[in-house]
Every structure is written in C-alpha cells, then in structure tokens.
C-alpha cells in the first residue's frame, strides 16, 4: 500500500514538470531493458548462476545416488530437492527484500535481528493463547514494518549511512528479541501455526508457496509499475532522480519497509518450523547469506540494478551448497572453508573479465597465429 502511495506522489510532479517527454523517456528506457538486442546479455546473466546450481546438484547426485528421487509421502512431495527449496525459504524471503534495498545503493544488516523479533512476537502471542493465527501473523508483519520504518527514516530522512543505521537495529534488535523472550527459548504447541513452517499445500511445503507468492507479488509490483525503474534510478543517481521528479527519500523509505515485511515473513517461517523462538540464534548471520545471494544474482552493491528471480537462484545455490557439505561426510571443521571456496568460484564464473581471461588462456595456442 505504502509503495503505491509513493508512486503516485512521485509521478504527479514529474508529469507537471516534464510533461510528455518524461513519460516517453521512461517508456523508452523500459523498452531498452527488454529489447531483443539485449536478450543475449540477459541470457548469460541467467546462464552462469543456473550453471553453478546445476553443477552443485550434480555433485550431490554423485555423493548420494538417491538425490534426485522424489516420492509422494503423506500427501506431499518428499526428497532432498524439496528440502533444498524448503530450507531456502527464509533466506529467499530476505533476499527478495534485500535486492530492493541494495538496488537503491543501500544495505540492510538488521534483517536477521528483525526475524528474531518477529519470531519472538509470534511465540509470545501464541503462548498468551487467545490470539487467532491471522492476528498473530498480522502483528508480526506490523512489527517487521515498524523495524523497516526505523531503518528507512534513519537512512532517508536523517541521512545516516545505511550500513550504520541498520547496524544499530542488527545489534539492538536481537536484544529486543531476547527481552521479549526473557532470555529463554519460548516454545509453543500450535499445529495451525506450525503448518506455516512445516505444513504443505498441494504437495509442496507452505514456505515454498510463501516465497513464490512473495516473488510474484513483488515482481508484478516492480516490473508492471514504474516502481522498479524508480528504485534503480535512485540507486544509480539519487540526486538526478530527484531533479527528474522522483521522490528519492520516499522510495528509499519504501524499500526498507518492504524489507522489514519480508524479514517478518521469514521470521514467521523460521519460528513455525521449529515451533519455538530462539532469540539468540533465529536468523543469525542470515543477512549475510541474503546479501551474498543478491550478489550471486548479479546485483551491484553500488545500486542501480537488481533481479529478484536471480537473487532467488543465488539463495538456492547457497542452500544446495550447505546440503552438499552436510551430505559429503567431510569433517565439520571444513564446512566454512569449502563454502567460501565454492562461493568464490561461483562469483568468478560470473565475472566477464575472468571468463575472457580464461578463454584467452585456453585459446592462446590456437589464437596465437590467427588473431594476433
């Protein structure tokens, strides 16, 4: 709702000032994005993340021949692949929000802590007993929005550097969650709420549906309205966007609100999954996984471009990697090292410069006579 308000506000003065030509520019810019000439470039943007994902899944298949097996059990699909998609859900939700923040040139370090706060809110409300599930979800999302509001106001209206502004809530937020839980792990018995984390709908886990829904709604909101373009414009050059009539502060505030909302959903999924809220560990370091996923998806941390589907592919890569490590049977002390090396490899694979160098290296013998 808030975001739509922002669009209206920002597009009205723009039409008065620049009139028709501005709208045409926007249209031209949109067409340029999706023009056939660019499709080859777009294809390669998807190619390398998908290639990395396919390679990881292949390694898993070598480690465990049953890896691709899917069974129908208790009315749901069951198998390692489903697990990867299901376990990706919280980080995928975070990454969807994080993509937008990063596209405006910002960053949100507080999403893990916001997950913990929203989880604590859910668990405590459920323990009180007389709250319906929609009310609990609604209040958790409101809490997430409030956290997003704090971040957004600090970044856009108080002019604090995003990394510092959100660092405040990253540290303080976990404290708030611990306070809500009084330092304990709050557990609850509520099968209806637990279904949000471990239930299934039409054969797929509920968290997967939540991610698909969030992805669809966001993608429509961003790519079927001008909001996505505004976000990228603000990320490219906030000052120029302001002169163009885009309410850059409003846009920045709205992306932090959306991120807070996504973090709240992730918190709900994580809490429902283990039927308890662990303020110390819920969402711990997940903000970094989300940022990594966005980067694997090809977004620039300096802002100006984003892709939600590719960020979600990035999340799947990270989760597939975690599963590979668990299944591999290597001693646990190697986990982080392997993770770092594989991620480095994935990122290098995506770098055009590195690919060209690699190509030059392999074709050196052949090209030596002909090309030089």
């Amino acid at each position: 709702m808030t975001t739509e308000g922002v669009i209206l506000n920002s597009s009205q003065p723009e039409q008065q000032n620049a009139g028709q030509s501005n709208a045409e520019q926007l249209k031209a810019a949109r067409q340029a994005r999706y023009s056939p000439g660019q499709s080859a470039h777009k294809f390669s943007l998807y190619l390398y993340p998908l290639l990395a994902l396919a390679l990881l899944l292949l390694v898993n298949l070598l480690l465990d021949p049953q890896f691709f097996s899917l069974q129908w059990q208790d009315g749901r699909l069951y198998g390692p692949l489903i697990d990867i998609v299901n376990r990706s859900a919280p980080v995928a939700l975070l990454a969807i929000g994080m993509s937008l923040v990063i596209a405006t040139g910002g960053i949100d370090l507080s999403v893990g802590a916001v997950m913990a706060i929203c989880g604590a809110v859910c668990a405590n409300l459920l323990l009180l007993g007389d709250w319906s599930i929609p009310a609990v979800i609604g209040l958790a999302v409101l809490t997430g929005l409030a956290c997003g509001l704090v971040n957004g106001v600090m970044v856009s209206y108080l002019g604090i550097q995003p990394i510092v502004a959100t660092l405040v809530l990253m540290v303080a937020g976990r404290g708030v969650a611990q306070l809500l839980n009084q330092g304990q792990i709050v557990t609850f018995q509520n099968p209806d709420f637990a279904a949000l984390g471990s239930g299934d709908f039409l054969g797929l886990p509920v968290p997967v549906w939540l991610v698909l829904l969030a992805l669809l709604v966001m993608q429509l909101l961003l790519r079927r309205t001008a909001l996505g373009l505004f976000i990228e414009a603000v990320g490219c050059n906030a000052k120029a966007s302001r002169y163009l009539g885009i309410d850059d502060k409003g846009i920045k505030l709205s992306v932090y609100l959306l991120t807070g909302c996504c973090a709240a959903l992730a918190g709900i999924v994580a809490t429902a999954d283990i039927q308890g809220s662990d303020a110390n560990n819920a969402g711990l370091w997940l903000e970094l996984d989300a940022i990594l996923a966005v980067v694997i998806g090809g977004a620039a941390l300096t802002g100006g471009r984003f892709s939600l589907p590719r960020a979600v592919i990035g999340v799947l890569i990270i989760q597939a990697l975690s599963t590979t490590i668990v299944v591999s049977g290597l001693p646990a002390k190697f986990n982080l090292l392997i993770k770092a090396l594989v991620i480095l490899l994935v990122l290098m694979l995506q770098s055009e410069l590195f690919r060209n160098q690699l190509k030059a290296l392999f074709s050196f013998g052949k090209a030596h006579g002909g090309k030089a």
Binding site: D83, G183, D278, A332, K333, N335
Partner: protein, 315 residues
C-alpha cells in the same frame, strides 16, 4: 549511658555477624541462557540453606563489570569470592589484588588463564568428557545397540570445548563396542533450527534412516530439532531411533515424557555446593585443594521425565 550501651550492643552484633555468618561474593556472567539462570538460582538456594551471606553480582556478559564487582567485594572485605568468568584471559591483576587482601577465590564453570596458579584456590567445572562417556554408556547398554548399530552424531559448534570433549568421551566408550559406529557426523551449531535442517539431510542421505539405530546430539536443543525431522521422515523417534543427548533442558524432559527421546545427561548447574565446601575447608585451614574439581550431572531416562518436567517447568 543508654546510647553507649546501644552502640556497644550493635558493635557486638557486628562482631557476632562477621564471626559466624560467612560472607561470600559471587561474580556471575549474567543470565544469557536457561542453564545460567538455574545455575544462579542453585547457588543462591544453597547459600540460603547454609546460612551464608551471599553478595550476588550479575555482570551482563561483560568482564569489566565482573572485575568491578570483584574489586567491590575486596573493598567490602568478604570472606571469599566465587567467580564464574566470562572469558579466560585478563584476570591476573584483580586476582592479585584479592590475594593481597588474603581473600580466597574459587573459579566455577569456565576456566581462567593465569601464570600463577596460587592466585585461586580451585576451579570447579562440569566434566564434558564424562558426560560423553555417560551418554555412550547408556546407549551401548541398550538391546538395540547389541547388534549392528549405526549412529548419527550432531556435533556442537566447531571448536567449542563442550563439543570437543563430549565427542571425545563418547568415542572413548564407542571404541570398545565394535558393533556400533558413527556413520554420519556433522555440526548443527548447538541450535534447534540447525538440528532439524541437518538431520533432515542426513536421514535422506542414509536411505531415509532405516538402518540408523540412534541419534547422539551434543546438546538437547539440537536433539529437539532433530526429533521433528525424524518425525517428518515418517520414523518414530525414541523407538525406531534411540535419542540421547546432554543438558537437561525442560523441553527435552517433555519430549522424553512423550516418548520421543530416550535419555539425557544433565549439565550440572549445582556448582554452588562444592564451591562452598571448598571455601569452608579453606577457611578452616585446608590450603592444598586440587586445582580442578570435576562434577557430572545425572543421567535421566523416560521413567522420571514427566515428574522432572513438572519440577523444572515451574522454575
């Protein structure tokens, strides 16, 4: 005259007080976990039982607060000081101050690193290795474990003393039983969410867990997460798979009462009693206490779980 006698009476009272009731300062880490809370409560209860005047300080996980607390204990002239250190290093100066004031110091739970071991009387801590041995001892005495027994191990955070030592103790006992072996071992970082996630993957990698006879988790939280994963895989935790872990948190007692888990070795929070014993002996003249006193909690099984859960839930 009257005033004089009152003053005399009061001072006599003070003398009585200081000569009969021991005053002990206790610098606690904080209240970051349920275990820590019950540790603090246990020390307070023990002090009350023995008629000790306990000065309790909560350092909120900060060493500087603990050092301040210890200095104020020294200034107040307490009879002895108990420290549950936040970190191992940086204790030498304040321990020297205590020694100069001739106040004995007892370290509980975590260790301190000092060059001069005479700076403290002794350290009282849980023996993680023994906890691992107890868990393995119980598991390998079960009828299911007499034939071929494949065990999944969920480790604690990589590098944590509790994880290293519990694994060491368990593996020591396991080595004497060739029919049982750990087939999968992976860290789940001591948390419930990771326990569930890792167990999910490991069960699938082991053909759905049909050939697994037991789960051994380095703490209860991971075991609780894993129990959910076992259920979702269509197996019965506690029956198809034996579940054994360490800690003794209330939720785990509930799981045991429901038949989902089998056994836990309690991480002993009752360190107060032994600490007071040592101080008592020291003040009576016994100066040559061993530098490390280990305690281990009891093994709890399903039969007492329901009663234990009721008892612990109320705390």
């Amino acid at each position: 005259m009257k005033i004089k006698s009152i003053v005399a009476g009061l001072s006599l009272c003070f003398i009585c007080h200081s000569s009969f009731a021991t005053t002990i300062g206790f610098a606690q880490v904080g209240s970051e976990s349920g275990w820590r809370t019950s540790f603090s409560e246990s020390v307070k209860a023990e002090a009350k039982k023995r008629g000790i005047d306990l000065k309790f300080s909560d350092a909120q996980q900060k060493q500087e607060n603990q050092i301040k607390a210890v200095r104020s204990f020294i200034a107040q002239g307490v009879d002895a000081i108990i420290i549950a250190p936040v970190v191992e290093t940086g204790w030498t100066p304040v321990l020297k101050e205590a020694k100069r004031a001739r106040i004995p110091v007892v370290i509980v739970d975590r260790n301190v690193q000092v060059q001069d071991e005479s700076l403290f009387v002794t350290r009282i801590a849980s023996d993680f290795v023994e906890e691992g041995r107890k868990a393995a001892g119980w598991l390998l005495s079960q009828p299911q474990a007499q034939q071929q027994c494949n065990i999944i191990e969920l480790q604690g955070t990589v590098g944590a003393t509790a994880a290293i030592d519990r694994a060491k103790g368990f593996n020591e006992v396991l080595a004497k039983h060739p029919q049982a072996k750990i087939v999968r071992s992976q860290t789940a970082e001591f948390t419930r969410a990771k326990g569930k996630e890792v167990m999910e993957s490991l069960l699938k990698a082991e053909q759905g867990g049909k050939d697994i006879c037991a789960l051994w988790a380095h703490n209860d939280e991971m075991a609780l997460g894993a129990i959910q994963a076992i259920k979702e895989a269509g197996l019965k935790p506690g029956k198809d798979l034996l579940v054994v872990s360490v800690d003794g948190v209330p939720d785990y007692f509930k799981a045991m009462a429901d038949g989902d888990a089998n056994a836990t070795v309690e991480l002993n929070p009752h360190l107060g009693g032994p600490a007071f014993d040592v101080i008592d002996a020291y003040l009576k003249g016994k100066k040559d206490t061993a530098k490390l006193i280990s305690t281990t909690g009891e093994l709890f099984l399903q039969d007492t779980a329901a009663a234990e859960y009721e008892k612990r839930r109320l705390n």
